[in-house]
């Protein structure tokens, strides 16, 4: 009964979405306020209906209702409760449900919080949001219905892919999707602005918080995914340039560009058509990400839920959404008025450079990811593009980007003073030299030259961003107390920028450290044997059988010592899940803030007395995710800026008396 209710709610949501897109569009075109007003309740109703449907599906998973196909295929009665709930989105149908939940929640948020939006713009934004909703609801109902029953109901289910039964992955998709779908708001605003034929600083002020929110969650989603791959896949790597990883990375790069170009629209009323295009591209890349993951058109380690028939549907959706909006763009964008002028060396100029480099980086990843497909389609042969391509093309773009990132905020709007900015960065320059010297000393000059470049870059980003902040609060030039007052009065967006930029430096340090100086030992070990890993001794003590809720595991016990002192006891597992007949490695990690000792237990050798053991020492690797966390925090701090707070400017205006009292 409850699954049928969910199904029914989903169908109803489709009809509400039809109303949400049709009526307000007509209302905005004819100036009918009542019709435009339909958008708001419709968006809220659509969200509630989708939530009911999602709740019904979750219920079916939680109570293990094996008369529902989706539950049979992806769940098992013995599965822990956490994974019964997260398993709802751990499969194709459920993940699409999560997509639409995010979409309607964002839509309803615009409807509820966007009170001060001009009525026609609001009606059009929500209508476009409704159109996207129609596409995805149709997709779910026609090709990926999660409520289909199975008769007769089997006694138990097939269980969820054990790789997905992990807390890190349980929370990876919601963040990722919130990011992907959050960009739909920027997209809707862009399309609405094209329909209106008007873009102004106020428009950018409305778009930016949504973009910031989407960007922050996407950052968290990507970081979680990378962290999961690091500890679960048991290879000790943290980024594989896998097509599916790239699919989430491209919207992030484009979204980062969008975030920065919207600043120029807001402050200087320039770069308008470019920002609109970026908004369209960012969301299109999110859609394409979904398409690449769901269609199986590219090979990937992520091939969890792949079905070409569904890929065609998403391709059609992509064609309508992206093709349609780009067509609208080609018709309307030329008539948008260009805004303020600026010199090449200026804050605007630096943001343009940022955009150029980020777009180039996006294009690089795009080409690398799709090159095998293009070549195959043109019948020029089969190739695969791997990490060497991306390292050779992406890194040279990223280096100038980080260098410029630090200088840009020192430049004034309209016309900046580059030599002046560079002289004010002398302290960061000194810090870079000191950091490189320290790194060279610690490693005895070991490691590739590029590693020292990475260290220099990380120090530059970190200390340069702090130097900019120090400059703003006139640190050491006015009494400390005055600096403190200045810092407290700085807008939150300034705090956010400093945090995000400095934390990028922290991430770069982590990436450099682990890429250049990791140690890897892979060998067969018998219990009682000891291996040497960097400065540590790792003794393999024993292996024991362990029984979990829905798996059996061999658990190794390893003692890690350094100079005779006990550092940690690590217990990596090799789990086998009888229902899915899969084995997974659960690596064990001992982390100090400065490095990780990472142990994965492999297969036993044929006579069963020894095991293949993989030992890694990853210097600085936790900093990658700490930095990403910090970048997300920077985004959130910036999001709390006063001027984005809903209604703040409006209320101030409303407080003014409308009639001047007679004196």
């Amino acid at each position: 009964m409850i699954p049928e209710l969910g199904h029914y709610a989903l169908v109803l949501a489709l009809f509400v979405a039809l109303v949400q897109s049709g009526v307000p569009l007509a209302g905005a075109a004819t100036g009918n306020a009542a019709w435009m007003g339909v958008a708001r309740p419709a968006a809220v109703a659509q969200m509630l209906l989708v939530l009911v449907a999602y709740g019904a599906l979750t219920w079916a998973h939680v109570v293990s209702d094996f008369s529902v196909m989706n539950v049979v295929q992806n769940s098992h009665s013995a599965k822990p409760m956490l994974y019964k709930v997260s398993g709802v989105w751990g499969n194709h149908e459920g993940s699409m449900m999560l997509w639409i939940v995010m979409l309607t929640v964002f839509g309803a948020a615009v409807a509820v919080f966007g009170r001060n939006l001009p009525p026609t713009l609001k009606a059009r934004v929500l209508a476009v949001q409704g159109l996207v909703g129609i596409g995805f609801l149709l997709f779910i109902l026609t090709t990926s219905n999660p409520f289909i029953r199975v008769v007769p109901a089997p006694l138990d289910g097939n269980d969820l892919n054990p790789l997905l039964q992990d807390p890190g992955l349980a929370f990876h998709p919601p963040f990722l999707y919130a990011g992907y779908v959050g960009f739909s708001i920027a997209f809707s605003f862009a399309v609405a602005a094209l329909i209106e034929g008007r873009v102004d600083p106020a428009w950018a002020r409305w778009v930016r918080p949504w973009t910031l929110a989407a960007w922050s969650t996407l950052t968290a989603g990507i970081a979680l995914g990378s962290w999961w791959a690091y500890y679960e896949l048991g290879w000790g790597g943290w980024w594989y340039w896998d097509p599916v990883e790239n699919a989430s990375f491209m919207p992030w790069l484009a979204g980062t560009a969008l975030l920065h170009s919207a600043i120029v629209v807001e402050k200087r009323d320039a770069l308008k058509t470019w920002t609109i295009l970026l908004a369209i591209i960012t969301f299109s890349l999110s859609l394409m990400g979904t398409f690449l993951v769901r269609s199986g058109i590219l090979t990937s380690v992520h091939a969890f839920a792949v079905d070409p028939a569904r890929g065609v549907f998403i391709l059609v959706l992509l064609g309508i959404a992206t093709g349609g909006s780009l067509l609208l763009y080609s018709l309307r964008a030329p008539s948008l008025k260009a805004g303020g002028l600026f010199a090449p060396i200026s804050r605007e100029g630096s943001l343009v450079l940022n955009n150029l480099l980020l777009s180039t980086a996006t294009a690089t990843v795009f080409i690398g990811t799709l090159y095998p497909l293009f070549l195959d389609v043109l019948k020029l042969g089969k190739v695969s593009v791997g990490a060497p391509f991306f390292n050779a093309t992406f890194v040279p773009v990223a280096i100038p980007m980080v260098i410029a990132m630090v200088v840009g905020p020192f430049l004034a709007w309209k016309r900046g003073d580059l030599p002046g900015a560079l002289t004010r960065l002398w302290s960061a320059g000194v810090a870079v030299v000191v950091c490189v010297a320290i790194a060279a000393y610690i490693t005895n000059g070991g490691g590739p030259l590029l590693a020292l470049v990475g260290i220099a870059l990380a120090a530059w980003a970190f200390f340069g961003s702090l130097a900019e902040f120090a400059e703003r609060i006139r640190l050491f030039r006015v009494p400390l107390k005055d600096s403190w007052t200045r810092a407290a009065h700085l807008p939150r967006s300034a705090w956010g920028m400093t945090i995000a930029h400095a934390c990028l430096g922290i991430s770069i340090l982590g990436m450099t450290g682990t890429s250049a100086w990791q140690t890897e030992v892979i060998q067969a070990m018998k219990p009682g044997e000891t291996a040497q890993l960097a400065a540590y001794s790792v003794r393999f003590d024993s292996v024991a059988e362990v029984q979990g809720a829905n798996f059996r595991a061999e658990e190794g016990v390893f003692t890690v010592t350094k100079d005779g002192a006990l550092i940690a006891t690590l217990k990596p597992q090799r789990r086998s899940y009888p229902v899915t007949r899969m084995t997974t490695t659960e690596s064990a990690i001992h982390t100090t803030v400065f490095s990780d000792v990472y142990i994965a237990l492999g297969d036993p050798t044929q006579n069963g007395t020894a095991w293949i053991v993989r030992l890694y020492h990853h210097p600085l690797v936790p900093w990658i995710w700490l930095g990403a966390l910090g970048m997300m925090a920077g985004g959130l701090v910036s999001l709390s800026d006063r001027r984005f707070r809903v209604g703040a400017p409006e209320r101030r205006r409303a407080a003014k008396p409308t009639l001047q009292p007679a004196e």
């Binding site: 398409f291 890929g311 780009l326 067509l327 080609s330």
Partner: protein, 178 residues
């Protein structure tokens, strides 16, 4: 002229969209074999110790045969093993194995633990014969017709889907053909 610039994103997107559409007709896992429809290479492999027969090109003629390249150190081989077993034991297809770059003891152990569905196994300890077959990696499976020609090649593990949708229909067709 200015309008053309604004049209450019749309044109680029149409190009990408067409590539996607054509991409559906291709399977990225489908690696072409130069040997399809050509006779299997001429070879003779000695049997794995404890087995009566090895595998040679002469043995591939007469009946429709599946040649499966496997190794004890290869994890996907273990994954496809139940599928191979079903083909051989339940569906009555002759499956001959080529044991690729393995240690004899490891291979025998592996067969003892996982079962031996092979009609015979040739030991290709140095991988020399597998080069002639154009083996990319293990596991790989070839379908040979009665005249000893290679008709189908699977790179990577066989899945029940590949067996049901491609191998079984082809086996039926090839058996009926001559």
């Amino acid at each position: 002229m200015r309008r053309l610039i604004f049209l450019l994103p749309l044109l680029l997107f149409v190009g990408v969209g067409v590539a996607f559409l054509l991409g559906f007709e291709r399977d990225p896992r489908d690696i072409p074999s130069a040997l399809i429809d050509k006779p299997a290479p001429d070879f003779t492999l000695p049997p794995l110790p404890g087995h009566k027969e090895g595998v040679s090109s002469a043995m591939l003629k007469g009946d429709v045969t599946l040649v499966n390249v496997f190794a004890s150190w290869c994890i996907p081989c273990k994954a496809e093993h139940p599928v191979i077993t079903r083909l051989s034991k339940e569906l009555g297809v002759t499956v001959r194995g080529i044991n690729y770059k393995d240690k004899t003891g490891d291979a025998l152990d592996w067969l003892k633990r996982n079962g031996d569905p092979y009609a015979s196994i040739g030991a290709d300890l140095d991988g020399r014969v597998s080069i002639d077959w154009g083996v990319y990696g293990v596991p790989e499976t070839y379908l040979i017709d009665r005249q000893g020609r290679i008709r189908f090649k699977q790179v990577g593990p066989l899945t029940p889907q590949v067996v049901d949708e491609q191998i079984l229909p082809m086996v039926k067709h090839l058996r009926a053909a001559s």
